[in-house]
């Protein structure tokens, strides 16, 4: 068991355990390694996790019920009750090009969940003025999920609270801090299905979903055509890069997204609102 100092713990974005390989900490300053005395050290002196420690970690994350997270594990994550998630990978069993099961998990990435209520305040004010679809983008680890959580929280609370539907495929957008919000959430199923359910049954004013990709573009377009404002995120460093993905480009061309928010972390921190 390694005990981290509070100063170091506050900087950590991820804790990565790998069986037989060094334990690393992801921070804004880069990947750090620690020794058995919990001091930052060189990679060669870093402490390693054993396979039984990784297995115990998985047992704790799944509350000793791997079957309950079978589909999530196949997709590479385990959702946690506080809205955060752990990434997992290892040896898989494939049939017909699809993962049938994960027979051994030997890497775990524990993502530190952050709820920053004001992260999306400026953008939410603009969304409230005019309900236009907004695409949030940044490279991985840029704070998109934190931003979407904040947007869900800010838009669904207060005197002018909106009905917010959250398509929470990875069960990380709604946190216990949002208990007072008027949020309807569909979790644990593919985004496309969640967006369809929300649009058809919950009449939301805003739908929020994380990491859009090839799947779900049709459902997002249908929801936008029904008058729902879509706020979604995707990976990308700039709009040109994002436009190279046909599904997202088609959503932008069809007017699902009229605004974009570029998130920055590191040297330049903050968000930049762009009109598409």
């Amino acid at each position: 068991m390694i005990k981290l100092s509070p100063a170091l713990a506050s900087q950590i974005d991820e804790i990565r355990l790998r069986a037989g390989r060094p334990v690393s900490l992801t921070t804004q300053k880069g990947n750090l390694f620690i020794d058995a005395q919990s001091r930052v050290c060189r990679q060669s002196d870093a402490v390693s996790a054993t396979i039984s420690e990784v297995s115990e970690c998985v047992a704790r994350l799944t509350r000793s019920s791997v079957y309950a997270y079978e589909e999530c594990i196949k997709s590479g994550f385990i959702p946690l009750p506080d809205g955060s998630r752990a990434g997992v990978c290892g040896e898989t069993v494939c049939t017909g090009g699809a993962i049938k099961s994960v027979k051994l998990i030997d890497s775990v990435s524990l993502r530190v969940s952050r709820f920053i209520p004001d992260a999306a305040r400026g953008v939410c004010a603009a969304i409230r003025r005019e309900l236009l679809g907004t695409l949030v983008y940044s490279p991985p680890g840029g704070g998109k999920t934190t931003f979407l959580r904040s947007a869900a929280y800010l838009l669904s609370t207060g005197r002018e609270a909106l009905r917010v539907g959250v398509a929470d495929e990875r069960e990380e957008l709604v946190t216990p801090e949002m208990s007072a919000c008027i949020i309807d959430r569909v979790s644990g199923c593919p985004k496309a299905l969640a967006v369809e359910i929300l649009t058809r049954t919950m009449s939301p004013q805003v739908i929020i979903c994380d990491e859009i990709g090839a799947n779900g573009a049709e459902e997002l377009l249908a929801a936008a055509n029904s008058g729902v404002c879509i706020i979604a995120s995707c990976h990308g460093a700039d709009i040109k890069e994002i436009m190279s993905r046909p599904q997202i480009a088609s959503l932008i061309k069809n007017g699902v997204f009229r605004r974009a928010v570029r998130l920055y972390r590191g040297e330049k921190t903050g968000s930049e609102l762009q009109i598409l």
Binding site: E56, A59, R60, R63, S64, S65, V66, Y67, A68, S101
Partner: protein, 161 residues
């Protein structure tokens, strides 16, 4: 007065026989509780993919609680296997198929839903008839003990009378 005393002795013998049979009930009621728990687990895993500890926390059985089985399951252990093994230690050694029940612990929570429900169903299917048989034996034993108690009461009454 003598007649009344004789009647009391016969009835007491019958009741004493019943009480002796009651003591033999422990293993049967525990096995029946385990069977119910297995059926609940199978259904909860199959339908809701509920995690083991939440099923253990919601499950209620008077006899499994009395013997400490449920307490051991809900003691806050990290591993379901450890909790299950500790819980099995609280069961009466006369519970049918105790070794098989104990060995289920090694597979709990470690496989996919289909394999997990199959393992639980397999144990439940083998345990079910044994519990039924044990119930039948218990009822027969209870009846025999009562008759024996009553007969002894009769003999004592004859001697006294």
């Amino acid at each position: 007065m003598k007649l009344f005393a004789c009647a009391v002795i016969v009835v007491s013998g019958w009741l004493l026989g019943g009480l002796t049979a009651e003591n033999k009930k422990e293993s049967f009621v525990q096995a029946r509780g385990i069977l119910r728990l297995l059926e609940t687990l199978r259904a909860e895993i199959d339908y809701a993919r509920a995690d083991l500890f939440s099923v253990f926390a919601r499950f209620s059985d008077k006899y499994l609680e009395e013997c400490g089985f449920m307490g051991a399951l809900n003691s806050g252990a990290v591993s379901a296997e450890k909790a299950w093994n500790a819980a099995c230690d609280t069961l009466s050694p006369a519970v049918p198929m105790l070794a098989e029940i104990r060995s289920l612990g090694g597979t709990l929570g470690m496989s996919d839903a289909q394999t997990q429900t199959e393992l639980i169903s397999k144990l439940a299917l083998s345990l079910g008839p044994r519990v039924e048989e044990s119930g039948r034996e218990l009822r027969a034993k209870a009846s025999n003990y009562r008759v024996l108690g009553a007969l002894m009461g009769c003999m004592a009454a004859i001697v006294i009378y």
